[in-house]
């Protein structure tokens, strides 16, 4: 059994929460007490059917307003897979929360209200999917019950998205289109009799079979913590605890330390008391090296034969998440892997215009939820890969030194 991480996307009221509720309801993942609870709440509100969005919209404020404000993480499983679902808010104001949910997903469900088709928020989310290199994107064309399950409506939306594909550099992605009614339950788990013209998979069929495997590129290991027991039994033990971000490593491999550039060989790969012969992407391990070289938190280990140049200037796409605008020339902290480095924004070169879908030069301000092309300068070298080449070592966040808030996420170009 493996894990599939999914995130919803799409505009307010397109039915994201209802869809996730439906998925849980029809896979019988909800306990009796939870079903009774939302049945009662729905009745209290005078609704005829149960409101499935109440399953994920759990905060008082969300229920009062009938919208999602923050990501909810919901879990269910089939004999085949464990699913981690991030149900994200559609409201523009909460895009930062949407990105939180989206950043760990390998499948993106973009909801579209069949009556409205593609709107600005759909495009914004599609752009985010493109930026994040999300491989699997499902366009869930929802509320088909409100357009008489007309094939023409589905085809029209599908056609429009296909046109956008090129514009968003999505040619190499796996795109799927599914007409559904989250409210009624068509094509979510159960195949609908009302869409006989549709011969694609139901949403669950799709999720059960989609390939989640990430292609792993060069070995990258973030040193999080140095383990020095200083006990009698492990007197000279010095282990580097961290995570294999990408690629694999074997005992005997030569590795190079960034920042120092020094090399050594892997003596042992420990996972608690187990000695492993190799480790792969995602593994939390403790490495021992042949030589006592200077390594501390924030360092990255890469294959000895590879070169990853440290840079003090980088160009990146930046989603601004802070409530306050970006302040040029102000110091921010750039956090990537296990390193934190002070940086300044050298230039805001352009900003995405959601009408024209192109980057326009010289924006007036960098406001919350905007997507920008920026130059960053740093006092000490940054060892980031290009996000396109190795996403696992290609993203970073910016932290405001005064408020401590996470104000941006960036993708190195």
């Amino acid at each position: 059994m493996n894990i599939l991480r999914i995130s919803t996307a799409g505009s307010v009221d397109d039915g994201k929460s209802t869809l996730i509720g439906r998925l849980l309801y029809d896979t019988k993942s909800l306990s009796k007490d939870k079903i009774e609870n939302i049945e009662n709440l729905s009745k209290q509100r005078g609704l005829e059917d149960i409101d499935l969005s109440l399953i994920t919209d759990g905060l008082t404020a969300e229920r009062e307003q009938g919208i999602t404000i923050d990501v909810a993480h919901i879990y269910f499983n089939t004999p085949n897979r464990k699913y981690i679902v991030a149900d994200t808010p559609g409201h523009v104001e909460y895009t930062r929360n949407m990105i939180t949910g989206a950043s760990n997903a390998s499948v993106f469900l973009i909801l579209i209200d069949a009556r409205n088709g593609i709107i600005e928020q759909t495009k914004r989310h599609l752009f985010i999917a493109s930026l994040m290199e999300i491989q699997n994107i499902v366009f869930v064309i929802n509320k088909m019950d409100l357009v008489d399950y007309e094939e023409s409506v589905y085809l029209k939306i599908r056609g429009e998205i296909t046109k956008l594909q090129e514009k968003f550099n999505l040619e190499d992605r796996n795109l799927t289109f599914i007409p559904v009614s989250a409210k009624v339950g068509d094509n979510v788990v159960k195949r609908s009799a009302a869409t006989k013209w549709f011969d694609g998979p139901t949403l669950l069929d799709y999720l059960e079979t989609v390939d989640e495997a990430k292609d792993t590129t060069g070995f990258r290991f973030n040193v999080q913590y140095v383990i020095r027991p200083q006990s009698d039994e492990f007197h000279d033990f010095r282990g580097y605890a961290g995570k294999v971000k990408s690629g694999t490593v074997k005992v005997g491999d030569t590795v190079k330390v960034l920042s120092s550039g020094q090399s050594s060989k892997v003596k042992a790969i420990n996972r608690y008391k187990d000695k492993l012969t190799h480790a792969k992407q995602g593994d939390s391990i403790t490495l021992e090296l042949e030589d006592d070289i200077d390594i501390s938190r924030g360092d990255i280990l890469i294959p000895g034969s590879e070169v990853l140049e440290g840079v003090k200037a980088l160009n990146s796409k930046l989603c601004w998440l802070g409530k306050d605008d970006l302040v040029p020339q102000k110091r921010y902290l750039l956090q990537y892997g296990s390193a934190t480095v002070p940086v300044k924004i050298a230039a805001v070169k352009s900003q995405l215009d959601f009408d024209t879908l192109s980057f326009e030069p010289n924006p007036e301000a960098v406001k919350v939820n905007s997507i920008n092309n920026i130059d960053i300068k740093s006092a000490s070298p940054l060892y980031l890969d290009k996000y396109k080449d190795n996403p696992e070592n290609g993203y970073f966040i910016l932290v405001d030194e005064v408020s401590n808030a996470t104000v941006a996420v960036g993708f190195n170009q």
């Binding site: 909810a72 919901i74 464990k82 760990n104 913590y225 492990f234």
Partner: protein, 296 residues
């Protein structure tokens, strides 16, 4: 990758981030299976070094004796460092007032002792075993959840959390609650306990117990619970699915005496884990409200 390996990797990653980013972390130990699992993960994360942070238990004085005994053995076995914060002290110092009536519980009073303990020792990161699948307000939690000076959770203004990057920067007085097993479900925890052979207090398995019935739930008979005259004490074979203190956790009827049968029962269960939490039944938003004032 197998899902339990993936969950373990993630939890260990989070533990190590806490140990590296904070100078005064603590693991909040409740005596329940989730916090026992956390201790196991912490031991694995830092082996062969000792766990680099202490445990803190907020003792309501109304615990199952089995869990206290278990706690002390665990601490002994792994050379852990344990702080205990007593709710009784907070009552004696008039910081909180004991509840009265048939639903009297010290569960809500815990928050004050928890915050006192945090302040007294200067802890700035508290590792907790809360899981998002437990409850709808917990489903909204970040992995690193920032709390202000008064321990308050501001659900409407949480930090974005991108990829696996955890931003633990806080001001003096604030603290972070860190949740390494956020993405685990009840069943995942049990399957992991089985795989790793983790020992648990005996209350998690079927045993004979003196109980009484109230509001459709099975309550453990104890001196801490005010019974009505007509509430009759009977003996039943039960186990606990979730263990808080005796006044807030209800038992389920069960014959599951070993881990395989417990897992079998959970797979077949129609009622959720928190369905047996008396403290959640107080109101629809009970958990959200408790979290806002500093509960974990």
């Amino acid at each position: 990758m197998d899902y339990l390996d993936e969950l373990e990797n993630e939890a260990i990653y989070i533990m190590r981030e806490v140990a590296a980013q904070f100078d005064k972390p603590v693991l909040l130990f409740s005596g329940g299976k989730d916090s026992i699992t956390l201790v196991h993960l912490a031991i694995k994360a830092f082996y062969p070094a000792k766990v680099p942070f202490p445990l803190m238990h907020v003792d309501t004085g109304h615990n199952f004796p089995e869990t206290i005994e278990f706690r002390d053995q665990l601490v002994e076995k792994y050379g852990l460092n344990l702080h205990v914060e007593y709710v009784q002290d907070a009552i004696d110092n008039n910081l909180v007032q004991e509840e009265s009536g048939r639903y009297a519980s010290r569960n809500a009073l815990q928050t004050v002792s928890l915050l006192n303990g945090i302040e007294k020792h200067g802890f700035n990161a508290c590792i907790g075993g809360a899981r998002r699948d437990e409850e709808k307000a917990r489903a909204k939690e970040r992995v690193f959840s920032v709390r202000d000076d008064f321990g308050q959770w501001n659900a409407k203004n949480q930090r974005p959390e991108l990829f696996d990057i955890l931003n633990g920067r806080i001001d003096q007085g604030e603290n972070v609650r860190a949740f390494p097993i956020s993405n685990w479900t009840e069943l995942d925890v049990w399957n992991y306990i089985k795989r790793e052979n983790i020992e648990l207090p005996s209350v998690y398995f079927a045993h004979q117990r003196k109980v009484f019935l109230r509001d459709g739930l099975i309550w453990s008979d104890s001196e801490y619970i005010n019974k009505d005259a007509n509430e009759e004490v009977i003996e039943k074979t039960v186990r606990f699915r979730t263990v808080g203190d005796m006044t807030c956790t209800a038992a389920v009827e069960s014959d599951a005496a070993d881990i395989d049968s417990v897992i079998g029962e959970i797979v077949a269960a129609e009622i959720s884990e928190r369905g047996a939490r008396i403290d959640d039944k107080r109101s629809e938003a009970a958990m959200e409200k408790r979290k806002e004032v500093g509960y974990f």
